[in-house]
């Protein structure tokens, strides 16, 4: 198994390298080319890449683990996220139209311009760096657990995270978003096909769909209801789903994609394609988790469900090997997009305001990319428990940017002070609550953080002066574009 996985990983890395290097051809100069693929991404490619970026080790390792530990609530949690893609139907065209008109590279840059204050984007960029490092680390941990698990420790946890980091860095540095898009497309196909195959084999090993369903209902009935065996109390469910619901606009590695499509039509294809892909992948991951529950009932850690299932003998070795590659691909394709997005935020929203001539902007971005990669590796080595909870903690942090993003398009009274105070104070508060594990009144940190950000954004904006002229200048082309494209 170890030899097979090693060979398959090398083959996958080489194939990815060829694709990444091929993507370099036709790469133009400038930040728009590097970070946004020249705003010429087609719909299908964007959908595949959006799927690869969003879905990560979190799905077949984390969500499967969450199903193993908590049951059907994992399905509800992930499908509520998917329903949150309705936000892309609202904000996607608005981001795109504003990006076309004003040439934004990052969502933070858009907020700086909209609120007429460079610090707004700077704070958003810092928040993204702080909160996305644990999220990247989670992906690397997923690779580490998986490779060490399936090889019985022959491939160490540390070696796993270093392999993941190296691949993500190479594919990002090769040609920016162009190489990320193409390697993502390759990876999403690998991850979807391999997971479908694997779940087919594992359900067959349990006697086929009917037998699998009957035995689950009989032996693990509690897992088919909420709160189930205990993990999914209503408050925990809300605490997990709320930040995830807003993921599509709060996480820059995906919201930035709203600037990249070649047209509104391509954005629609991206959204719809992703929804179908997401629904299938969610179902596969949850069924995978339920299967693990039957085949491996006494695991000490839920996150080990997938690695142990792969080495359990229920799945042919060859299928196990390709699924390992599929999961590694899922994780790497998320990390590389995060690295690229953070590089653009650092270059455009932190470095550029300090060095207005713009010299070495790209270099600054690449330095940050390396720095973030190193920090993510260090964080991953801590091996904190439960991948999913950590992922959501990152999104809970980014949730504090949502009021300022919503306000940019829907409230002319929003001010820079309101945006800044909401992100800084709520960001610090939610970090404190999560680090100390405090849930005041039994309400989860994410909910407190989100509420505090809304109250502060509205309250502080009310008592400060909003840049109304800038709001008009910003919104006029967006509203005209919405009418032109018949967007409701």
């Amino acid at each position: 198994m170890t030899l097979g996985v090693s060979v398959a990983l090398i083959a996958y890395a080489l194939l990815g390298l060829v694709v990444a290097l091929a993507a370099r051809r036709g790469l133009g100069a400038g930040a728009g080319e590097y970070f946004l693929a020249g705003r010429r991404a087609g719909g299908v490619l964007s959908a595949l890449s959006y799927g690869a970026t969003t879905y990560s080790a979190f799905m077949m390792v984390g969500l499967a683990g969450l199903t193993y530990a908590g049951g059907v609530g994992a399905l509800g949690f992930e499908l509520i996220y998917l329903a949150g893609l309705g936000l892309v139907a609202i904000f996607g065209p608005r981001f795109w139209l504003a990006g076309q008109r004003f040439g934004y590279i990052t969502p933070a840059e858009m907020l700086s311009h909209r609120y007429d204050h460079a610090l707004v984007g700077g704070v958003m960029a810092v928040a993204a760096c702080v909160f996305l490092i644990p999220y990247s680390a989670v992906q690397l941990m997923g690779i580490g657990y998986l490779l060490s698990g399936v090889s019985d420790g022959a491939i160490s946890f540390e070696a796993g995270i270093l392999v993941g980091t190296a691949l993500a860095l190479i594919w990002t540095l090769a040609a920016g978003l162009r190489s990320v898009l193409w390697t993502d497309a390759l990876q999403v196909v690998v991850m979807l096909v391999t997971s479908l195959l694997a779940v087919g084999f594992v359900v067959a090993a349990l006697g086929g769909p009917s037998e699998f369903m009957a035995s689950t209902a009989e032996n693990r009935g509690a897992w088919l209801a909420v709160p189930g065996p205990g993990l999914f109390s209503l408050m925990t469910f809300i605490g997990l789903t709320l930040p995830w619901f807003f993921f599509s606009i709060s996480n820059p590695q995906v919201s930035q994609r709203l600037f990249t499509t070649e047209s509104i039509g391509a954005m629609r294809v991206m959204l719809l394609g992703f929804l179908v892909l997401g629904f299938v992948y969610t179902l596969v991951s949850v069924i995978w988790g339920f299967s693990a529950l039957q085949l491996l009932p006494e695991l000490e850690r839920a996150d080990l469900a997938t690695p142990r299932l792969l080495s359990s003998g229920a799945i042919p070795t060859l299928v196990s090997i390709v699924l390992v590659v599929g999961i590694v691909a899922a994780a790497v394709s998320t990390v590389d997009s995060i690295l690229l997005s953070l590089a653009s935020l650092a270059a455009r929203d932190l470095y550029r305001p300090l060095a207005p001539t713009g010299a070495r902007e790209m270099l600054a971005g690449k330095v940050v990319m390396l720095l973030v990669a190193v920090l993510a590796v260090l964080f991953a080595r801590l091996q904190l428990d439960l991948i999913t909870i950590l992922s959501v903690a990152s999104s809970a942090g980014l949730l504090v940017t949502v009021p300022a993003i919503v306000g940019a398009f829907f409230w002319r009274g929003g001010s820079a002070a309101g945006a800044l105070v909401s992100m800084i104070v709520a960001g610090i508060a939610v970090t404190f609550l999560q680090v100390t594990g405090t849930n005041p009144l039994g309400v989860p940190a994410s909910l407190w953080g989100g509420l505090l950000a809304v109250v502060l954004f509205i309250g502080v904006s009310w008592v400060t002066t909003a840049p109304r002229a800038r709001a008009e200048e910003f919104l006029a082309p967006v509203e005209a574009g919405l009418r032109k494209h018949r967007i409701r």
Binding site: V72, G73, L75, G76, L79, I80, L82, A83, L85, G86, A89, I90, P93, M213, T216, A217, G221, A222, L224, A225, V226, P227, L234, F237, I238, T241, F245, S263, I264, G265, A266, R268, L271, L272, L275, V276, F279, T282, L283, K484, H485, R486, I487, R488
Partner: protein
């Protein structure tokens, strides 16, 4: 408000309602149903309906 805009608002309101039901029904009415035909089936249907509403929402976009 144009017809398009009104239809869009209606679809969004419906999506909001469906999302609310995704919390209320499994936690309110299906807690005791330890079967695939309880929360699992409900959330599957919820997913299909939510995706359908989003399809409807973006269906009239003109490129």
């Amino acid at each position: 408000m144009s017809d398009d805009r009104r239809r869009g608002t209606g679809t969004l309101a419906l999506l909001g309602l469906v999302i609310l039901l995704a919390y209320i029904v499994p936690y309110g009415f299906l807690q005791a149903v330890e079967s695939w035909y309880g929360a699992f089936l409900f959330w599957m249907l919820f997913g299909v309906v939510a995706i359908g509403l989003i399809f409807h929402l973006v269906g009239s976009w003109r490129s």
